[in-house]
């Protein structure tokens, strides 16, 4: 007794599928071409996708404590904590260049200016909407605070301000600290601090 259909001799000889089969396939493809979505939604996890496998329903797992991601070994106390000899560092862990300041300005405007405002007086839009007002960067206490202090506040938060360590990477935090220094200088500058060339530019801008 045969439990299978013998392949048609015609197809076997020519090596081509039968015309009937082709028509049938074409019909099927047309009919169901927009219904199959299993390649659109494959059994793999995209970022933030929910999971039925894990009890908490999250595909993104929290690594065990003490896990060091590739390239994430944090060597160098100063760079990652802002501390030196047990206190806030007076020094930056790397040389500050014009590029660092530009980067710092960019990050400051994204992450800090909503509350601290763009010049650092602490009257940003979120403060005007009810957030506790932070001190101005231009008061004596903060003008004298070492860069490590600003790094520490960004890393661990302070008062009503949450930590920004997950959003701003350590080198960027230092760049912001450097930019805050620049802001402080800018708000306490006198005529004599500006080079003659820049003075000309300022005067030009003022007369325009």
């Amino acid at each position: 007794m045969k439990h299978y259909r013998e392949p048609s001799i015609e197809a076997a000889e020519t090596g081509k599928p039968s015309r009937k089969g082709l028509v049938f396939l074409a019909g099927l493809t047309l009919l169901f071409s927009s219904c199959r979505l299993d390649m659109h939604d494959q059994p793999k996890y995209e970022s933030y996708e929910a999971s039925e496998f894990f009890a908490d329903g999250q595909a993104s797992r929290i690594p065990p404590e003490g896990t060091i991601p590739q390239g994430g070994l944090r060597q160098g106390e100063l760079l990652y904590t802002g501390k030196m000899d047990g206190g806030d560092s007076e020094l930056f862990p790397f040389p500050i260049t014009q590029d660092t300041l530009v980067r710092g300005q960019d990050r400051y405007n994204i992450y800090c200016s909503p509350c601290h405002d763009k010049v650092g007086t602490g009257r940003g839009i979120i403060v005007r909407r009810g957030m506790k007002q932070p001190p101005s960067f231009h008061i004596a206490r903060l003008r004298e605070a070492p860069p490590g202090y600003f790094f520490d506040v960004m890393t661990n938060g302070f008062g009503a301000m949450f930590s920004y360590s997950s959003r701003v990477q350590p080198r960027d935090r230092w760049a912001i600290a450097a930019y805050i220094r620049a802001l402080q200088l800018s708000q306490n500058a006198s005529y004599g601090d500006v080079s003659e060339e820049d003075l000309e530019k300022l005067e030009e801008a003022a007369t325009e």
């Binding site: 927009s34 390649m39 933030y48 909503p114």
Partner: protein, 216 residues
């Protein structure tokens, strides 16, 4: 032997052929219309969310930069959905009693993430990377539309392959200066073509139409 069919049947057959042709064309048209319809592409459909978060309020009203919340957009394939910690950074102080924010507070108390409804969902066989696009001068609004005008998030583009290819074939029509990528008010200038060509050269943008650029 007598004829099987009466000669008048000829007319019937002709009508039948006509009907079949019209039906086939209709089906084809319906298929095309269906594929590009709102039902299938979900374009311009507001999605309900567990919290009625308004991009319009946060971006347009407050002027918060996209990257304040979507922190990984410059360095990763995913732009990043903010954790509840980010929301609470402000909302532990602002609108602390608002009932609309109760799911956020609950999420923060219990450590259970909010379950947002994904609005821009590419098929799993497309490997899209945000970081390369923003580095090469593709602005947020080029794909996501005027997010600053959306009380609730919606898609404004189909995200179909043909749509991707419009730009992959002619990037000069769409790219903008890098410093304008996160601007929501940027509009293509009248000399976009000229500007685009210059940027394509400066940023070394390649027209990527190879299948394996996106499908791996």
């Amino acid at each position: 032997m007598a004829q099987l069919f009466h000669p008048n049947i000829n007319i019937l057959i002709r009508i039948l052929v006509g009907v079949v042709v019209v039906l086939a064309a209709g089906l084809g048209l319906a298929y095309y219309q269906g594929y590009y319809s709102v039902y299938f592409s979900q374009v311009n459909v507001f999605r309900e969310q567990p919290v009625m978060f308004s991009h319009k309020h946060h971006v347009n009203g407050l002027g918060i930069d996209c990257r304040y919340c979507h922190t990984s957009v410059e360095v990763s394939s995913s732009a990043g959905i903010p954790p509840t910690h980010t929301c609470m950074g402000c909302h532990s102080q602002v609108w602390t009693e608002a009932p609309i924010l109760e799911p956020v507070r609950e999420s923060y108390r219990t450590g259970t993430p909010l379950q947002w409804v994904r609005v821009h969902d590419l098929p799993d066989f497309v490997y899209f990377n945000h970081s390369i696009h923003v580095k090469k001068g593709v602005g947020c609004t080029t794909c996501h539309g005027q997010v600053d005008q959306m009380p609730l998030m919606m898609q404004v583009n189909t995200l179909f392959m043909g749509w991707c290819l419009e730009c992959h074939r002619n990037p000069e029509d769409y790219v903008r200066p890098r410093e304008e990528v996160f601007s929501v008010s940027w509009v293509p200038p009248s000399n976009q073509k000229e500007l685009g060509r210059r940027l394509v050269e400066e940023y070394q943008i390649k027209s990527r139409t190879n299948c394996s650029s996106c499908h791996r």
